[in-house]
C-alpha cells in the first residue's frame, strides 16, 4: 500500500455513474448482451461496489440469434459473480403473435428486441436500465444523455432532454417513466478494447480471429455455419480467418477478415482500422437516420 491512485477519467466517470444509479433508483437492472461493452460495464459495476456484490440483476434480451459462444460465456460469468440473470426471449413474443418476424435477405431481430425489452421493464418494474451504448457508435447517439428519460412506451424525445451539467445527474422520474443509463457514453471503441486489455477481462472467443465458414454479400462477410443467417443458393461458402467486432444478432452482424488472435493484436487492429464498428452492422445502414428512428420507438 504505497502507491498513488492515478485517475483514469473515463473509468472514474463510469464508476461514479454506477454509484449514482444505485443511490437514485429503486430497481435498476444492467442490460447484459454478452458483448464487450456490457462485459466492460460488469467490470465497472464490480469496481463501483467492491467489496460488496453488484447490487442489481442482469437482464439479457435474447434474440434467439445469438452466437452460442456468447450464451455460454454469459451463463458462466453470472455464476462466477453470483448475480441474478433474467433472460427474456424475443421468440416468445413472436410465438405469441405480438410481433412479426421480418423475412428476406436482411431479416433481423434487432427491431424486435425493443418490444421484449419494454415488456421486461414493465414486468419487473425496473426504473433504470444500464446499457453499454457509446456516443461514438452512431451520430444519433452523440446527443444521448447519460441519464436518458424514457416514457411509458420507451420513447425518446431527443428535443426535450434534460441538460447534464458537471457530474450532476438528475434521476428523478414520474411513475411509469424509466431511465436508460449509459456509463460508458464517453468511451470510444478503442477505449473499450484498451480497457479490456489493461484489465485483462475475459471476453467471448468470437471476438478473436478464428476459422469460420462464411459467405460474402454486398462487400460484407457473413457467417454460414448457422441457419439463422439467410443465404441464397449461389452465395458461395468459403472458410476464412475472421473475427467479429460486435456480437449482436448473428443475422445482421458481419465478420471482418482478421489475424488478431489475442487482445493485444485486436487493439492494434482497431487502432489501424478504417471501418467504424457499426459499419459492420447492416441494420444501421438501412437509412442514414436509421438509429434515430429506432430510438424514438424505444430501441435501446
Amino acid at each position: 500500500m504505497s502507491t498513488i491512485l492515478h485517475s483514469n477519467a473515463l473509468e472514474n466517470e463510469a464508476i461514479y455513474i454506477m454509484r449514482e444509479v444505485a443511490a437514485q433508483f429503486e430497481k435498476p437492472v444492467l442490460l447484459f448482451s454478452g458483448g464487450k461493452d456490457s462485459i466492460t460495464l460488469v467490470r465497472l459495476a464490480q469496481k463501483a461496489f467492491y467489496p460488496a456484490k453488484i447490487p442489481f440483476p442482469f437482464l439479457h434480451v435474447d434474440t434467439g440469434h445469438n452466437f452460442p459462444e456468447t450464451i455460454e460465456f454469459r451463463d458462466r460469468l453470472c455464476e462466477e459473480l453470483g448475480v441474478e440473470l433474467i433472460v427474456r426471449n424475443v421468440q416468445d413474443n413472436i410465438d405469441a403473435g405480438k410481433v412479426q418476424e421480418e423475412s428476406g435477405k436482411y431479416a433481423s431481430r434487432n427491431m424486435l428486441q425493443t418490444e421484449t425489452l419494454l415488456d421486461a421493464i414493465e414486468e419487473f418494474g425496473f426504473d433504470a436500465a444500464i446499457g453499454g451504448a457509446r456516443r461514438d457508435e452512431e451520430k444519433a447517439r452523440a446527443k444521448e444523455r447519460i441519464f436518458s428519460v424514457r416514457d411509458d412506451f420507451g420513447g425518446w424525445d431527443e428535443k426535450n432532454q434534460r441538460p447534464e451539467l458537471f457530474d450532476l445527474l438528475n434521476g428523478r422520474i414520474d411513475l411509469g417513466q424509466n431511465v436508460r443509463v449509459f456509463p460508458i457514453s464517453n468511451w470510444t471503441e478503442l477505449d473499450v478494447w484498451s480497457y479490456i486489455e489493461k484489465e485483462d477481462i475475459e471476453i467471448p472467443s468470437i471476438y478473436f480471429a478464428h476459422k469460420r465458414e462464411t459467405f460474402v454479400r454486398d462487400g460484407m462477410i457473413w457467417t454460414a455455419d448457422d441457419d439463422v443467417v439467410y443465404r441464397e443458393e449461389d452465395e458461395e461458402v468459403v472458410e476464412r480467418m475472421v473475427r467479429f467486432r460486435t456480437v449482436g444478432d448473428m443475422s445482421c452482424t458481419a465478420a471482418v477478415l482478421s489475424e488478431a488472435v489475442d487482445i493485444a493484436k485486436v487493439v492494434e487492429e482497431i487502432r489501424d482500422s478504417s471501418i467504424s464498428e457499426r459499419g459492420a452492422r447492416i441494420d444501421d445502414k438501412r437509412s442514414e437516420a436509421a438509429m434515430e428512428k429506432r430510438k424514438q420507438q424505444g430501441y435501446f
Binding site: 464517453n186 482500422s273 471501418i275 459499419g279 434515430e292
Partner: protein, 415 residues
C-alpha cells in the same frame, strides 16, 4: 489514458462544424465508411468540396435545418491524448447548451470569422467560458483564406479580445490566438505556409501540449459521499466504506477528516479502488474509503480535510443560468442538487439579470427566463456546506430541479 474535453462555440456560419470535421479528417479519425457518407452527402448537395460539417451534425431535424441544435459529442484521439469535443450551437437562444458544454470542459475553442471580426456572439461565448472558469481558451480566427491571410485582420481580433479579457471577472484564463482556415486546413492540424507572420502552434499542437496543471483547478479536497458500501460478507463482516468521486485536491491515508453536516471527525484508514488499496488518491478518482472510527455517514454527506472546512449557510447568493421554459420567479420552491446532496430551496429574490454581451446588468427585472443568467438569492431548508465557485468548481455549483416536472431547470454558481 489522458482525456481532454473541449467545448466549441461559434455563430451559425463561423464554420464550427467544418473545423471539427477538419480536425477529424486531418487526424485520420474519420473512418472510411464515414468519409464515404460525407462524400456521398456532399455530392448530393452539389458541393465541389467535402462538407466536413456533415461529420458532426447528428439528428434528422438538424440535418433538415442545416444547423446544430443541441450538445453533440465528438471523439478522436492521438497517440498522446483522447479528445472529447462538446459541440454546442452559438445562437443567443442556446445559452443553456453552451453552459452545459462548458461545464464539463477543460478547454474551449471560440470561433471568430476573420471577415466579420469580434461580434456580439463572440462576447457571449467569451462571457460563458469566463463564468464557467474554463481555463484554456483558443480563439480560432477562421476563414483566413477569405481575407488573404491578413495579419492586420487577425491582430484586430486579438486586440479586441484582450481588451474584453481585461474586463472579465476570472483572470486565470490562458488565451491563445490562432489564424486558421478550417475549409482549407491551415493551422488546424498542419502548419500553414500562408501565414509566415504567425509563429505559434497549430490548433492541435496547442491542445496536445496542454497538461493537467494547465486545465484543472488546484483547490481543496471535497468528497461528496454517494453510497455507503456494506458487504456484510464473511470476509468483510464489519466493512463500512464511503464511496464517492474526489474533487479539487488529493486525500491520503492518515488525513484528519471532517464529515458534514454532522461535523464529526476521524482519520482516513484505507483508500480502496476496486480490490486494491492506495496511500493517496488524486483529484478525479472514484474511491471507496474507510475511517478509523465508526461514525454515522450517509449519502449526501460531504467529507473534507479537517483543516480545510468549507463555508456553511442557509441562504446563498448564486449566479444562475436558467434552462426551463417556465420562468424563475421569487417565492417558488425547487430542489437543489449539490454534489450528492439534495436540499429543498426557496427562491428568495431574483436580483438582476446579467447581460452576456458585457453590456451590463438589469436590476429592474425580477424573473429569469430561459437562457437568462442572473443573480439569485436562495433560501435553503438545511445548511449547505459549499465553496465559492471561483475557489472550487464542484463544491461551488449546483443544479436546480423542478420537483413538479422533475426537469433540470437551471444551474447555479455560488458567489
Amino acid at each position: 489514458m489522458e482525456v481532454l474535453k473541449i467545448a466549441t462555440a461559434g455563430s451559425v456560419d463561423d464554420g464550427k462544424s467544418t473545423l471539427i470535421g477538419r480536425i477529424l479528417y486531418d487526424t485520420k479519425s474519420l473512418t472510411d465508411d464515414k468519409l464515404e457518407a460525407i462524400e456521398r452527402s456532399s455530392k448530393q448537395k452539389g458541393f465541389d468540396y467535402l462538407d466536413f460539417s456533415l461529420a458532426t451534425d447528428g439528428l434528422v431535424a438538424e440535418r433538415e435545418q442545416g444547423i446544430t441544435i443541441d450538445v453533440a459529442h465528438i471523439y478522436f484521439s492521438t497517440a498522446k491524448k483522447s479528445y472529447i469535443i462538446a459541440d454546442t450551437p452559438g445562437h443567443v437562444e442556446y445559452t443553456r447548451n453552451m453552459v452545459t458544454g462548458a461545464s464539463t470542459s477543460q478547454a474551449a475553442i471560440i470561433l471568430v470569422d476573420a471577415r466579420k471580426g469580434v461580434i456580439e456572439q463572440t462576447y457571449r461565448h467569451f462571457f460563458i467560458n469566463n463564468l464557467l472558469k474554463v481555463k484554456d481558451i483558443v480563439v480560432a480566427v477562421n476563414k483566413m483564406d477569405l481575407v488573404d491571410f491578413s495579419e492586420e485582420k487577425f491582430n484586430a481580433v486579438k486586440e479586441e479580445i484582450i481588451r474584453l479579457a481585461a474586463r472579465s471577472d476570472y483572470k486565470g484564463q490562458n488565451i491563445t490566438f490562432i489564424p486558421v482556415s478550417a475549409l482549407k486546413g491551415d493551422n488546424v492540424v498542419n502548419k500553414s505556409v500562408q501565414t509566415p507572420w504567425y509563429h505559434g502552434a497549430t490548433m492541435l499542437e496547442h491542445l496536445e501540449g496542454l497538461n493537467a496543471q494547465d486545465v484543472y483547478e488546484v483547490s481543496q479536497a471535497r468528497l461528496p459521499i454517494q453510497n455507503v458500501i456494506r458487504p456484510k460478507t464473511e470476509e468483510f463482516h464489519d466493512f463500512r466504506g464511503y464511496a464517492g468521486k474526489l474533487y479539487g485536491g488529493s486525500l491520503s491515508v492518515g488525513d484528519e477528516v471532517t464529515v458534514l453536516p454532522s461535523k464529526t471527525s476521524s482519520r482516513i484508514k484505507e483508500i480502496y479502488h476496486f480490490d486494491k488499496t492506495f496511500e493517496r488518491a488524486e483529484r478525479g478518482a472514484s474511491v471507496n474509503i474507510t475511517l478509523e472510527n465508526d461514525i454515522n455517514i450517509s449519502r449526501g454527506d460531504l467529507l473534507v480535510k479537517s483543516s480545510e472546512l468549507p463555508k456553511e449557510a442557509k441562504q446563498i447568493e448564486a449566479k444562475v443560468c436558467w434552462m426551463d421554459a417556465k420562468n424563475l420567479v421569487a417565492g417558488t420552491k425547487y430542489l437543489i442538487q449539490h454534489g450528492a446532496n439534495r436540499v429543498v430551496a426557496k427562491i428568495a429574490d431574483v436580483q438582476k439579470v446579467i447581460k452576456t454581451d458585457f453590456s451590463g446588468e438589469d436590476a429592474a427585472v425580477n424573473k429569469l427566463t430561459i437562457n437568462d443568467i442572473g443573480v439569485v438569492q436562495i433560501k435553503l431548508a438545511k445548511s449547505l456546506f459549499y465553496d465559492s465557485y471561483v475557489d472550487n468548481k464542484a463544491n461551488g455549483s449546483f443544479i436546480i430541479i423542478d420537483a413538479q416536472t422533475n426537469n433540470t431547470s437551471g444551474v447555479g454558481f455560488i458567489q
